[in-house]
């Protein structure tokens, strides 16, 4: 008799409490099933952001259906259908819930001014305006159209972009598009190190 995780639990319900044909008490499993907190949650398929095994993870949220309500993550677990991890997760993947709901998360833009000893809050518009102006000024001040031999090079060597290990492919393509178009040659990524 082959039992999958789900039919096992279903069998437990049908069999009720007491000792089943398996020879041990399934009451706790029964109780667990009745009270599963994910029963009415939305299941979202995601991928673990840590190593490159790419374990499938399921993120369970509640409150999604109500208007103007921010969904709340209540549980994260390995995706049992995923052919690589088959529902398993390592100590890092198993604690992803605390990565999503973490009181150390950065919540607002900040700036540290020259010579300052602290962070101060800054509005998004202000921050993005200042960054764009700095990029343009630095680029215009240092842009190299031709090298010493007269070859067209159209590059900006005074700005650098470094990308992280969890950036999506699509984000990476937007980096290529925008940064190479601005002439950046210093474009690097965790992939190098």
């Amino acid at each position: 008799m082959e039992l999958s995780r789900r039919t096992f639990l279903k069998g437990a319900v049908i069999g009720g409490t007491g000792f089943s044909l398996l020879g041990f008490d399934l009451a706790p499993a029964h109780a667990q099933l009745k009270e599963l907190k994910i029963a009415r949650a939305t299941e979202t398929r995601s991928t673990c952001p840590y190593c490159a095994v790419s374990c499938g993870v399921l993120i369970y949220t509640i409150g999604d259906k109500a208007k103007n309500v921010t969904p709340q993550v209540i549980h994260v677990e390995g995706d049992p259908d995923h052919p690589i991890n088959r529902g398993t997760l390592c100590p890092k993947g198993a604690s992803l819930y605390q990565d999503i709901l973490n009181d150390r998360r950065l919540l607002k833009p900040q700036v540290r001014r020259p010579g300052s000893q602290q962070w101060e809050d800054i509005a998004w518009t202000q921050a993005l305006d200042e960054i764009a102006q700095r990029i343009k000024k630095t680029r215009d001040d240092t842009f190299i159209e031709k090298d010493a031999q007269g070859h067209t090079v159209n590059r900006c060597e005074s700005l650098a972009f470094i990308g992280g290990c969890t950036d999506t492919n699509e984000f990476n393509y937007l980096v290529v598009k925008t940064m190479r178009s601005m002439g950046l040659t210093f474009i690097e990524n965790q992939a190098r190190v």
Binding site: Y50, C51, P83, P91, R104, E130, D167, T178, M182, T185
Partner: protein
């Protein structure tokens, strides 16, 4: 990985070296255990430490960090000496029979032919094949290379179209004989003296590994699995090459349960490489244009290889399609502004003729020429190497933009430990810290180590005022573009003409970007062979449809096929696996063309029949006159085996390269053992040439390197713990509970010598800086005898910083491990040498 995670279950023997997957890739390592359980596969682990991977092995060798080439070279020597090689595979699928040009010299003295001591570079013109055009034959015309710029190195001549060869493998200059000669110096005795692995243990290991080719049997397969323990050396690329050569010699590449398998350490650095998040490539591994190219035609001529093979053989030479991939990329980026008249906007791309890699960013910033840095999810100070140099560099920058989800070391460099309030006043860098989105808040794809692209969905919005990374990038770019529109400025054309036709330009939906990566038809297209038509505006079904005449656009040719008219292939979730080989053809999507095992033509003998009938991947169907199989054939489908087309279709030779010709590598066509930049011993192969001759040290005052004579004689290596992920999980309460404190792992014998007990606070110093943590006295690292001298190795986990739960609570020493590591890089991949540097250890 040439193969994939699940495919490991098909192996008969796994060599894990330069990696510790039981701890760093636990859910992938389960497939090694499956192979052990179900196939009685054997596991060999070679590592400086007795890791948890080693604990599951059948055979373990403790190796001195940085001597992997000596070990693997010894394996090649053993395989050849004992005839444990895949003869037919070697002859037909590699360049073993190719004859190398006269004048090529092996590095008995540590140097190949063509070394220039003044520039520390090689003239690689002798690193090529002998021209095999017979007197009556016609030499394929290769136009003379473009004239070199004054002072620029002479361009290399192309590979000969017809290569001289000797199928008896007896010619003294054929690749096989040179290989044999090269590694004849790597005797078991030399392996023992250099690596510290005893001759007996080495022979046992070599015997076990090569046993899969006992008596010429081709059924069994071995896999080699590695990670950054191989890449993070000043000869990292060559270490991996030695493994690839060994696998070719034993006929293990392209086969289920075989291959050369890099375990990527992060969720999407495979994708970041595919998408050219690094300076030296364009998406899909296209080469970057150089100033000397001058125009698109010259660039394409330089970067599009012509086939080079024995005359009777065939070579697909798939990179001959480079112009189609390049023009489609330019059309994807610049749309209608890319026209035939302006060479598809070729001038818009910056031209690259020097090293702009990771350590160069920090070096140039330190020297004052890099003035602004944008860091998205990349903690450059903690990542190092030489974190203090990176901090000093940031002090000199005008501005830094950090997009992060947690407070990190880079954004707080200006108040890193040791900087006083007075010094802070002198640091003029403006730092913007922008709150980004975590993985659960973003959709899109990441590419795993097995080249699978898997679509994920956003579960929740970013918290507080945090924004999606792609939105922040779009908003910065659109503001910059707006400034150029209103005020003008230097060469605004590429900025103004970049395609940005997203339904919501300020918030580009990643589904639209994913479709852009796949590519689409810009005109009605018809396949001349099948008469199949796709309409203008439709997604291309695959890269075979791409054109070099501007009628297709494609962001990354390798990803063509990932989002077709049939929908998002990367979101597929079919769990069926009819072959039982773990192919999962309809789960997600794998590049290239949804192939799961690369070079799988090599899983068959030259006649097209699988080497092992129980692991049938692809095969030649004579009736259908086509290659068919359980996986997508990585081959020209209608190429009859009689035509002898090589299975390694991305090489102009069509075969695997045991000899890496011309510009393939900066430091030699075969790997040679060199010592790490900081090494406690002389190079026993050639004492006059201790290090990789083309590797250059950095020259700022921050760059210091030491030897044993400076008092640094303990070898240090760095590693990760299963409970932590880089510099990230120190913000996660559960992971911090599991391993709350940093530690330094050192051998019992060294601890006794220094009077150190477990839990004592100790200080490890390199010539650059120091690191303080508690001692973890262990038997997992034993003292080694290196050339008769007792030598110690220690290991330090990388995870500590100065911002984190414990750090903020003042519960540890708040030092960054990478303050210790030297800035020196591999000459091919530019990866820093994090492993195997010198330190001294003392009690605090």
């Amino acid at each position: 990985m040439t193969n994939g995670w699940i495919d490991i279950k098909n192996t008969d023997l796994a060599l894990v070296m330069g990696g510790n997957p039981a701890e760093n890739h636990p859910c992938g390592f389960k497939w090694v255990i499956e192979a052990k359980r179900n196939r009685n596969a054997k596991l060999i682990v070679v590592d400086p430490r007795f890791t948890r991977t080693a604990a599951t092995s059948d055979l373990f060798c403790q190796i001195r960090a940085g001597t992997d080439i000596a070990f693997l070279g010894g394996m090649i020597n053993y395989a050849i000496a004992n005839n444990r090689i895949a003869h037919d595979y070697l002859l037909n699928y590699t360049n073993a029979a190719f004859i190398v040009k006269e004048g090529f010299k092996l590095p008995e003295d540590g140097l190949y032919s063509g070394f220039d001591h003044a520039t520390q570079t090689y003239d690689r013109s002798t690193w090529t094949y002998e021209d095999g055009s017979d007197s009556g034959g016609v030499v394929a015309s290769h136009a003379a290379p473009a004239a070199a710029a004054p002072g620029a190195p002479k361009p290399l001549p192309p590979l000969p179209a017809k290569v001289a060869y000797d199928l008896t493998l007896q010619h003294p200059r054929c690749v096989f004989q040179l290989l044999k000669q090269q590694y004849s110096r790597y005797t078991p005795e030399m392996v023992e003296r250099v690596t510290g692995i005893s001759k007996d243990q080495f022979l046992k290991t070599a015997e076990l590994f090569t046993s899969i080719r006992k008596d010429g049997d081709m059924k069994k397969v071995a896999t080699i699995i590695y990670a950054v323990g191989w890449t993070q050396h000043s000869f990292g690329t060559q270490t991996i090459r030695t493994a690839a050569m060994l696998q070719l010699l034993l006929g293990n590449v392209g086969r289920a349960g075989g291959g050369v398998n890099a375990l990527r350490g992060h969720s999407n650095i495979q994708g970041a490489t595919d998408l050219a998040g690094v300076f030296d490539i364009l998406p899909g591994y296209l080469k970057v244009p150089t100033p000397a190219d001058g125009d698109l035609a010259a660039y394409l001529k330089r970067t599009t290889p012509t086939s080079s093979k024995p005359n009777p053989w065939d070579s697909y030479n798939y990179w001959s399609n480079t112009p189609k991939f390049t023009v489609s990329l330019l059309k994807s980026m610049y749309g209608d502004a890319a026209t035939k008249e302006n060479q598809w906007a070729f001038d818009y791309l910056p031209k690259v003729d020097r090293n702009y890699s990771w350590t160069q960013i920090w070096d140039n910033m330190y020297r004052g020429s890099v003035k602004g840095l944008l860091a998205f999810g990349m903690n450059g100070v903690a990542i190092g190497p030489d974190s203090q140099k990176n901090i000093e560099a940031l002090k000199k920058a005008d501005f830094l933009v950090v997009g992060e989800i947690y407070p990190d070391e880079t954004s707080e460099f200006w108040r890193s430990p040791g900087i006083t309030l007075d010094e802070m006043k002198t640091i003029q860098t403006t730092v913007y810290r922008l709150p980004c989105a975590g993985f659960a808040e973003k959709d899109g794809t990441m590419t795993n180590s097995a080249r699978w692209l898997q679509w994920k969905y956003a579960a929740v919005p970013p918290p507080g005022d945090a924004r999606l990374d792609q939105d922040i990038l779009a908003q910065i770019f659109l503001k910059v573009r707006g400034l150029y529109q209103t005020r003008g400025g230097k060469f605004p054309d590429p900025i103004l003409n970049l395609t940005w036709a997203y339904s919501d330009p300020q918030h580009p939906p990643l589904a639209e970007v994913a479709k852009e990566l796949n590519g689409k038809a810009l005109a009605d297209l018809t396949d001349p062979k099948t008469q199949v038509t796709i309409k203008k505006g439709q997604q291309v079904p695959g890269f075979a449809w791409l054109k070099d005449d501007g009628t297709t656009a494609c962001g990354n040719w390798l990803y063509a096929g990932s989002w077709t008219e049939a929908g998002n292939q990367m979101a597929r979730r079919d769990t069926s696996d009819p072959s039982g080989l773990g192919v999962y053809q309809n789960w997600a999507w794998s590049w290239p063309a949804n192939r799961r095992v690369m070079y799988n033509r090599a899983s068959c003998d030259p006649s097209g029949k699988p080497w092992d009938a129980s692991r049938k991947q692809v095969w030649w169907n004579e009736t259908a006159q086509s290659w068919v199989g359980n996986d997508v054939p990585d081959f020209k489908l209608d190429s009859n085996p009689k035509d002898h087309m090589g299975p390694f279709i991305m090489n102009p030779e069509g075969v695997g390269r045991i000899f890496g010709p011309l510009a393939a590598f900066a430091d030699g066509p075969f790997p040679e053992h060199y010592e790490p930049i900081e090494s406690p011993v002389a190079n026993l192969f050639h004492p006059n040439q201790p290090n990789n001759p083309v590797v250059k040290k950095m020259k700022t005052p921050a760059d210091k390197y030491a030897g044993p004579n400076d008092g640094y004689n303990v070898i240090c290596t760095t590693y990760r713990l299963t409970e932590h992920y880089h510099y990230w999980t120190k913000n996660n309460p559960m992971n911090v509970q599991l391993v709350p404190e940093p530690f330094i792992e050192l051998p019992v014998e060294l601890a006794q010598e220094l009077g150190i007990k477990g839990n004592d606070k100790i200080k490890v110093s390199s010539i650059r800086s120091y690191y303080i943590a508690k001692a973890f006295v262990t038997k997992r690292i034993k003292p080694m005898m290196i050339d008769g001298k007792k030598t110690y190795q220690i290991g330090i986990p990388i995870h500590q910083g100065y911002r984190g739960i414990q750090e903020d609570a003042g519960r540890d020493a708040r030092t960054i491990l990478n303050r210790l590591t030297p800035t020196v890089v591999d000459p091919n991949a530019y990866t820093p040498e994090f492993k195997g540097f010198l330190v001294k250890v003392e009690k605090v």
